[in-house]
Every structure is written in C-alpha cells, then in structure tokens.
Subunit: 426 residues, 2 copies
C-alpha cells in the first residue's frame, strides 16, 4: 500500500456535503436573543451575506463549490492522505493508521477551507470589510489570507493575552494586511464595558466575538465572519472528508474509527460528516479536559458570545461566561460546540472523549519523531486518541483502520513544545 | 492553463541529475589542506561515507535515488509547480511566472532533499551519529528530521547569535531529538581557541563548520554532514528541477528565465542544473548585497570553514574570515559558493545578481499579498528578481516564461517580517 495517497486537481470535490437533511432529528433553530423566538433569516442579514444564510438553513444534501473558491483551494488542495506506517511500527500495532494532512495551506491549518468561501460570498454580495475574532490566531490568519485574496479589508479582534504572548500569528495577519486589535478594546461598547470593570482583562473568545459582531452591525459594508460552530462553516470543511473518502477508496480500505479534535467542531465535522451515514464506523470527538464542553457541558440553548449579542444556539455548553484555563491548544478553548455536532453526540452517533494536555504533547512528540511532521497542539488531541485506539487494537489483535484529521502544523507553536520539553507544562 | 501543476507519486524522479559530466571544463579538484595536492578520496572517509564520496566525484550523468530515500521524499514530494497568476495580474505583466514550492516539507524548506539522502547513506554504512552546523536553523532542522527517521543521533553546532535569537528552530531540532550546541563551544579545540580570544564571540557558520568537522573526526561512528556547496549535496537537490521539467512540459511551456537564491548554491542548483544544457535560457543566481560572493568575491581556492580544517575548494569567495552582517536571510550568509556553480558563473553560463535586503522583503510582502504564501527571507531574493524580470518583460511587451524556486516558507521568520513592517530593517 502506498505511503501517501494524492488526488489529481480534477478529483477535488466540486460540492460540499450538508449534514442537515441527514440528522437524526431536525436541528433546533437558533433563537433571537430579543424575542426568544426562532431567528428570522432577514435579521441575520445585518452580519451575514444572503448566500451563507441560505446555506446555514439549507436542506440540500450537496452544495456546489463555486469556481472562484475552487481556484484558490487549488493552491494547497487536494491535501494528502498519509498512512502513518512509522507510527504503526513504533506502536507495533496491527491497526492501519491514516491521517488527512491540512497543514500545507498557506496559513498552516484547515481554517482557510471556510475562510475562502466566506470571503468569496461576502465579496460577491458587495461587502468590502469583514470582522472576526481569534484566539491563538489560526482562524484570524486564515480570514486575513482569504480577505486579501478577494481585496477586502479585515479586522481581527484578538484575545489580548494571545495578542501579547503570540506576536507571530499577529505578524502573519498583518502581512496579509489585516488590522489586528487586542480585545477587549475601546473600539466597541462591549469592549469598553469589560474594560470599565477590569482594565487589565486578559480577554476571551466570547468577548472578542461580541466586539467583532458589534463592529459588523454598526459599520457599513461590513459583515462578520465566524470560524467554526455554524452550519455553513462546517459545511465548507467537508471538502476534507469528501477527499478522504476518495483516497480511502484508492487505498482499498474502509474506516473503522474516525477521529478529530474539537473546539467548535469544524475540523472534526470536515473529516467526519461525509462518513456519518456509514454503518459500523466509530466517530470520536476529542476535546481538552480543561474545556470539556461535550463531556461535561449541558445540552441547552446558550449564547455564542459573552455579551449576549449572538443568536442563542442549542448546543453543549459550559456557559457563556466560562473562561477556560490558558492551555496551548488555543483553538480548542471555547465554551460551546457546533449545534449539529452537539445533536450527534446527544444521539450517541458521535462519542466524545476528553484528554489531558500533557498526554497530548507526549503524543505530538511521538508523532513528530515517527512521522516527521510537527503537529499543532490542537491536532495532538486527535493523535493522542488515535494512538490509544491503535494500542487497544494491538491488545485485541484487531486490524482496525483508524483515520484522523491532522488539522494543522505546529510551526507557530514551538514555544508550547519548548515548555513541554522543559517540563513546564501540566 | 492550470494554476497548479502536480505530479503523481509514480512520476517522482527515480534518479538525480549529476552536472559534473556536463560542465564546460573539468572541475578543479578539492585540495588537501596538509599537502595542497588533490585530496585523496580515502582521506575524506574520516568524515563522509564511501557512497557520498563516490557521488562527489562521479562522472555518471544520472544517479539512482534509493527506494528508502524515495519513500521518505513521498511524505511531501512531488512538490507543486504553481503559476503565479495573481502576481502576474498585480504586475500587469505579459510574462508567465511559475514557482516551484519546496515549503511543504516537514521542516519547511528544500533542505531535507539532501538531508534524507545523506542520513540514509551514512546509516547504511554503519554510521550512528552525524554532526553538522547551522546558521538560522533551516539546515540543522532538516538534518535533525532526517537522522530521526533513520534512528541516528545528531549534533548540531548552531551559530551562537542564532541559538539565542531564534529559539524556535532550535526547539524544532530538539523535537526531532537532535542535540543543539551554541557555537563556538567548549566541546572542541576549534571552539575553545575562538573563545580564548573572544569569550563573547557571536559565532559564524565558518566556526560552526570547524567544530562539527572536528567532532566527526574525533568521534567513533560519527560522520559530518554539509547542507550545501559540495557536489553530492547539489546532486540530491536536482529532484526539484527534474520534477519541474515534467511539470513545465505538462503546462506546455519552455522556460526563458530561471531564478534561484544562492547561499552555498543548493536550492539554485536543485532547480536549475537539470535545465543547464538547454539553449536560450537565462539562469540568474541571486545573492544578498551584504554577502556578495558571486558578484564581488574572488575565484580561487579557499577553505570551507574558518579554522581551515576542510579541503580547499576552488570557488568564488569573500575569504574564510569574512563575517557577513546579520541579515535575516541567514541561509545566504556564507563566504563561499558551490564549486560547480562558481565555474558556471565564471563561464557566464549562470549570471549572478546581488539585491538589497529591504527590496527582498518588499518583494516578499507583495508575494504574500498576491499569492498568499509567506516566503522565507532567503526565497524572497528569488522573488525580487522574478518581479524585476517580469517588469522588464512588460516594458518590452514580451511573453517571457519565468520560473523560480520558492525554497521555503517564512513561518519561522515572522520576527524578520515584523521588523520590516515596523520600519526597523535597512
């Protein structure tokens, strides 16, 4: 069997997979925070373009990928599916481990799959400026990259601690001409309200979302863009799984276990959703123990942001005011989860598992040593569980096929690995 | 025409191209520093494996790539050839600009093409440990990556200023289990001699080479590995140009101008050498104004290192004691150049051009804004000249085909871009 399975350009999917028609029950609708009634699509037009609202609600199973988006995807897509033969040998497991590698995109992660699509639809509807929030900077840099390619302006509210501790992702965003603002800021009412109470507030993703949404509402020709959680965001990521489907077919195997890490759910959904109707596959969503939304959260309506400006979503949540400890997998520090993923977990179709930070870095180091690729701290969560499952397969003598999503490289996270190697992590 | 031209796995070259039989005159032999006579191959066995010495002297035009090396290449090869359509539009040039992108390898540059081959041949001949030097860390991280995959030990002498200023490449090397020593160190005589004179010596590539060579000579089962300059190193890089040859054929174009940046010459040679016998192609080697080896150096025998431990090579050199200013393109700070490239420049087959640091960063930013990829500071030298040539083509209304090597991504160099954007560079 080949080590790496590539697809030709013309084998890149020309449509995304929409899970809405295949959910086990209808998705509870987003609620208007002013009325507590189902949100009217028109109201969402204050911050989203019509086409993305349509996709958010669509019941069509497949949605075509526009040529303009495909042209940019081609810069790094199709991405490789790689058999982790060296890791298998190291573990002495009979399992076959495959990973889909999304780290070859210019910003280094899966995030541009949706950033490019969102920038495109906004530009097409005449929007000239996008706002968003970012924690560690993976999403912000993806949107900066995408808006640049469509000649749009971009403002990123970056969680203040990250702004100061992780200057390099900020530089990356600025290289793509985005304006990066430490959040909470004085530029919005939501920001000022926080700063009045606590001038030294370190910020949080919830606060930054409030600022970005407020900015989009109040400014002309400006929309807001979200990097995870919403249906249309997860939809755009399914290009990952649709490619993987063809690649596994070429490899001549059927997956037994599919794994992805979860912050809001977009990289997990991207790999897994196109396989969700397949029988006999175990789907495992991996989250950090320190932000155990799916494993310890409540399934209920909650806000997406701290100030309560967003629609209410039915999801697993730790509460909108939950501030997760500053783990290095910044992309997994979110109080809620995608409503579609939450529903699948509630129905037991997807299993959730929480893992400890130190174990994920150990797994990441083993992966770097065997497969040669240094994974992002977020992705190490998937690796940790892939290793656990491969060892279980070894115990039972089973030739399981394990597939996980390597959502990004760790080249921007070497400080975290340094802390790990120096024994400074807990 | 396609934006990106990919090759299938089975189209990856199965042999390297050796330029020695095609040089315009026989290559002046390396000289033994003790006798000033041509170096006896046996003497090189103190630090190199037999097969690499054979390749260094070989007159065969093609040398097979071993399966074990190809298997690892497949992790990231074949690499894409991309048409820079957005850059062309920005420049409003009739020229067609293509770049070969080597930044998708796990260490992020072209360097593993030879690191993997060198580790393989050494391991095959029973060597258990390799030493080397590194400036900014691109080469050191490539060798750390390669030795890890062949279960070898690796010690990297890293120029002390870089060791302290660029901790992240060091962390990357340590993640792959290499031992990284700031140079000059107390571990070698060469290092101690420098430290006696100047305890605060910032180090240099020449000093670090002396330390690494001495370490290899004095320790059992240890060899030395060089990341550029030597024939066998440039040979291994030709996999780049051999792929590009097939890709340009698929694109249906013939190159008019081919461009690469030059430190020691390996990424330039990698792209260009397979095309060197082609008529009517202009080959441009780009170096920094601050280290103008090819444009202002002397063509004569000189040492590869500062202490004078290496054989003497006939090359363009600024003198073994030349210490280039601390520009950000650390990979281009070397006093000498590959003997084969020097000979081609002397014969006018390859033209050399020196460019200013500030201009290269401006070119890098334009490239990031248009093509979306943030280039390594080394690679921006090639981009700067590609842009210049595309503008010349525009002036003359010529549809030139310009091909350059994008040797690595700039994800580890964001501090340099930050300094540039803040106006701190000169």
């Amino acid at each position: 069997m080949e080590k790496k399975i590539m697809l030709d350009e013309n084998e890149m999917p020309d449509r995304w997979y929409n899970i809405l028609p295949d959910l086990p029950e209808p998705l509870p609708p987003p609620l208007d925070p002013e009325t507590n009634e189902p949100m009217k699509p028109e109201k969402l037009e204050a911050i989203f373009p019509k086409e993305l609202i349509r996709q958010e609600m669509s019941e069509e199973r497949y949605i075509p990928i526009p040529k303009e988006v495909r042209d940019i995807y081609l810069l790094w897509r199709p991405t490789p599916l790689i058999r982790a033969t060296r890791l298998e040998e190291y573990l002495k497991t009979p399992a076959k481990i495959f990973y889909k590698y999304e780290g070859t995109s210019p910003p280094g992660s899966h995030k541009p799959n949706t950033a490019v699509a969102q920038a495109y639809y906004n530009a097409k509807e005449g929007i000239e400026r996008l706002t968003t929030e970012t924690g560690a900077g993976q999403w912000g840099s993806a949107l900066a990259f995408a808006t640049r390619l469509f000649d749009m302006e971009c403002r990123v509210y970056m969680v203040r601690t990250s702004y100061h501790q992780k200057p390099y992702r900020r530089v990356l965003m600025e290289l793509w001409n985005a304006e990066v603002i430490p959040s909470p800021s004085n530029l919005t009412e939501s920001g000022r309200r926080i700063l009045e109470k606590d001038p030294d507030s370190p910020g949080s993703l919830g606060i930054a979302i409030s600022e970005a949404v407020e900015d989009a509402v109040k400014n002309d020709n400006t929309n807001y863009s979200l990097g995870s959680v919403l249906n249309h965001v997860l939809l755009h990521q399914t290009v990952i799984g649709l490619e993987a489907e063809k690649q596994l077919e070429i490899a001549g195997v059927e997956p037994d276990i599919m794994i992805g890490c979860v912050g809001g759910g977009s990289n997990f959904a991207g790999l897994v959703y196109p396989f969700i109707r397949k029988d006999g596959v175990e789907f495992i969503a991996v989250e950090p123990e320190s932000c155990p939304t799916l494993t310890k959260g409540e399934y209920r309506y909650d806000f997406g942001d701290t100030a309560g400006l967003t629609p209410l979503l039915k999801m697993y949540t730790l509460g909108k005011d939950f501030v997760p400890p500053p783990i290095h997998a910044g992309g997994l520090r979110y109080h809620g989860d995608a409503p579609t993923l939450s529903l699948l977990v509630k129905h037991g179709i997807v299993k959730a598992r929480a893992v400890a930070q130190l174990d994920t870095f150990r797994a990441g180091k083993i992966f770097a040593e065997t497969e040669g690729i240094v994974p992002a701290p977020e992705s190490t969560h998937a690796i940790k569980v892939a290793i656990d499952e491969a060892l279980k397969a070894k115990e039972k003598g089973e030739e399981k096929v394990i597939v996980f999503n390597l959502s990004g490289h760790g080249h921007f996270d070497l400080k975290a690995y340094q802390d790990f190697m120096e024994g400074k992590l807990s």
